[in-house]
C-alpha cells in the first residue's frame, strides 16, 4: 500500500535540504566541470581511437569527426549523476547516523512509500544537477546535434538517476554504518564508471571486459545520451532506453525489497 502523503513529505524534505545546501550544489558541479575542462582540453588534440562513430552512428560518423571534448560531455554528465544518485540512495545511512531514520521508521506508513519518496526526492535533485551541468556545458560552447535531442537525453538522465538511487538503497539497507563506504566507492562506483565508457569509447577496453560493460547500467545511459545529443553511439537510442529502463525497474524493486527487510535500529 502506498501512502502518497508520505511520498510527498519525503520528497519535500529532500528539496528543502537540497536548497539549503548551496555549497553542496556548487561542489557537485565543480568536480565534473574540472574533469570536463582538464580532461577535455588535455586529450582534445590527441587522436582517441574509435571516437568517430559506432554501429548506430552510421552515416553521421562518416560525415564529421567527433572531438573528444564533445564526446566527453555526456560521459561527464553520466559520471556526475552516477555519484550523486548513488549517494542519494546511501543517504539512508546518514539518516541512520543522525538518528532520523528511526523517526521515519516508526511513522505509520508503508516502507514502500518511504522508498518511493526517497527515490522521488533523490531523482529530482540528481536531475537538477545533471541539467545544471548540461546547461553549463552548453553555455561554455557545447552544441548538441539538434536541440530536439535534449528531450530524450533528459529521459536518459532520469533513468540513470532512478537506477543508481535504487543501487544506493540496496547498499544502504545492507550496511550498518558508513564504514563500508570506501569499499563501495573503490570497488563498485569507480568500476561502474570506467566500464561504462564515460571517459573513452567502451570498445577500446579488452574484449574479456565487455560482458561486464554490458552489465553496467551506466553504459546504456551514457550511450543513450550520446545517441540523442551527438548522434554517435554503439546501440540505438531505443535499445539503450529499453535496457536502462529495465535496469531502473529492477533496481527500484531490489532497493525497496532490501529496505523493507532491513532492521530499523
Amino acid at each position: 500500500m502506498i501512502h502518497w502523503t508520505a511520498v510527498a513529505v519525503m520528497w519535500l524534505r529532500e528539496m528543502k535540504r537540497f536548497l539549503r545546501a548551496r555549497s553542496r550544489i556548487v561542489g557537485a558541479l565543480a568536480m565534473p566541470l574540472f574533469f570536463l575542462a582538464f580532461m577535455g582540453l588535455g586529450f582534445n588534440r590527441m587522436a582517441v581511437p574509435g571516437l568517430a562513430g559506432g554501429a548506430a552512428g552510421g552515416a553521421a560518423a562518416g560525415t564529421h569527426t567527433l572531438s573528444y571534448l564533445r564526446f566527453l560531455v555526456p560521459g561527464i554528465i553520466g559520471m556526475s549523476m552516477l555519484f550523486t544518485s548513488t549517494f542519494a540512495g546511501l543517504s539512508v545511512l546518514w539518516d541512520r547516523e543522525f538518528g532520523f531514520l528511526k523517526e521515519i521508521m516508526v511513522a505509520p506508513v508503508s516502507r514502500v512509500s518511504l522508498v518511493l519518496g526517497r527515490i522521488a526526492g533523490g531523482t529530482t535533485t540528481t536531475l537538477i544537477q545533471g541539467l545544471l551541468l548540461l546547461s553549463v556545458s552548453i553555455a561554455l560552447g557545447f552544441r548538441p546535434r539538434s536541440w530536439a535531442g535534449l528531450v530524450p537525453a533528459v529521459l536518459f538522465m532520469f533513468f540513470i538517476a532512478v537506477t543508481f538511487i535504487g543501487l544506493g538503497l540496496v547498499f544502504a539497507s545492507n550496511m550498518k554504518d558508513m564504514q563500508g563506504f570506501s569499499i563501495i566507492m573503490n570497488f563498485i562506483m569507480f568500476p561502474l564508471l570506467f566500464l561504462s565508457g564515460a571517459l573513452y569509447p567502451m570498445k577500446n577496453l579488452p574484449v574479456w571486459l565487455r560482458p561486464l560493460s554490458y552489465a553496467d547500467p551506466l553504459t546504456y545511459g551514457i550511450d543513450g545520451m550520446r545517441a540523442t545529443l551527438l548522434g554517435v553511439s554503439m546501440f540505438s537510442a531505443a535499445l539503450n532506453l529499453a535496457v536502462l529502463a529495465g535496469f531502473s525497474l529492477i533496481m527500484v524493486v531490489l532497493g525497496a525489497y532490501f529496505f523493507e527487510h532491513s532492521e530499523s535500529v
Binding site: 543522525f98 523517526e103 508503508s110 530499523s264 535500529v265
Partner: protein, 352 residues
Amino acid sequence: MSAEARREEIISEQAAGVSSGDAIWVENLTRTFGDLRAVDSITFSVPSGELFGLLGPNGAGKTTTLNMLSTLLKPTSGRALVAGYDVSRHRDSVRQSIGIVFQEPALDGKLTGRENLEFHAMMYGLDRYTRRRRIEEVLALVELTDKAKVLAEKYSGGMKRRLEIARGLVHRPRVMFLDEPTLGLDTQTRRHIWDYIKKLNRETGVTIILTTHYMEEADYLCHRIAIMDQGRFVAQDTPSNLKDLLGGDVVSLEFENGAEEMLAAAQSLAWVKKAKQHDGCLSLTMERGERRIPELVSLAQGKGITVTCVNLRKPSLEDVFLHFTGRTIREQEASSAERHRGHPHGRPGRGR
C-alpha cells in the same frame, strides 16, 4: 486496517482476557541477539494514564523492550499489545497510537523546529488545519514557539529533547515512550524536562512509559516502576511500596543521657521493627518515619531524656536495587559493559 482485521483483533483481545483500560499489555516478551537474551520473558501491564518507569542499568534490556513495543524490533517470542493492538501483527495501528522520544536525538538538523514537527504531522496524516493548530499547541507546551524557525541543529541538548517531546505529541498518541529522556542533560535542564513530563501526563492524560537509569528520576516521576536487570524484571510496584519492602525508614536519635532507657521503651513499641543502640545513639527502623519522630521526641521528653539530634533516612531506590540484585546499579553497569565487550556491534550493550 480493514474491518475484518479489527474484528479479529477484538476477538483475540477478548480471548486473551485483556481489559480495555490497559494501554500496554505484555506477556512473556523475549528478544535474543545471538546467545544473548536481551529481554528475557517479561510480563507486565500498564493501565491508561499511568506514568510507568523501566529502571535498570545500561544493558538491562530497557531500550530493546521499548523498540519491541514501538514495532522497531520484532519480538523473538511472547506477545505485546499497545493501545490494544498487537505489535507483531498490526504495526501500523500501533504506530498510529504511539509517540516516541528516542535515547539519541532523532531530528533532521537541516530542518527548522517547526519543519520537523510538520514532517511528523504530515507523516501521521493530519490535515493542514489540524497540523497548524497542533503544532502551535505543542510548541507552546514545551516553550519553543519563538525558536520554531531556527534550524534544529542549532538547538541545545535540552531544546532538542523538548522539541522531540513536542513532536511525539503532535498526533495525540495514546501512549508515549520516552527512552532515557534526560540522558546527558545538565541538572537544571533535567528538572525542566521532568516538569514537562509531569505536566504532559497530568494535562493530556497520555500514558507514559519511560526508561531511565537515574534512581531519582524514576522515584520523582513514575507512578509505578519495574526494576530491570539482565533482561528480566526483578521487581514491579510503586516506588514507595518498593522502598517499604526494605522494612521502612531509619530514624536515628541521639541523646544526652538515658539511651538504654529509650532503647527499652522503643523495643516495646509495636511499629518499631528494629532497634539498635550504639554510642548513645539509637537507630530505629519503621515505616513512615517522619510521622513517628514527634512521638519519639515527646516519649523521650516524658521520661526526662534530652534529644540532641534526630536524623531520618528514607531508603532510596538504590537500596531497593541493591536488595533485589545484590549489587548497586553502578557496579551492575560496570560489569554489564564487561559482559557486552564480547559483542562486536555492542548493540544491546549500548542500548540502541
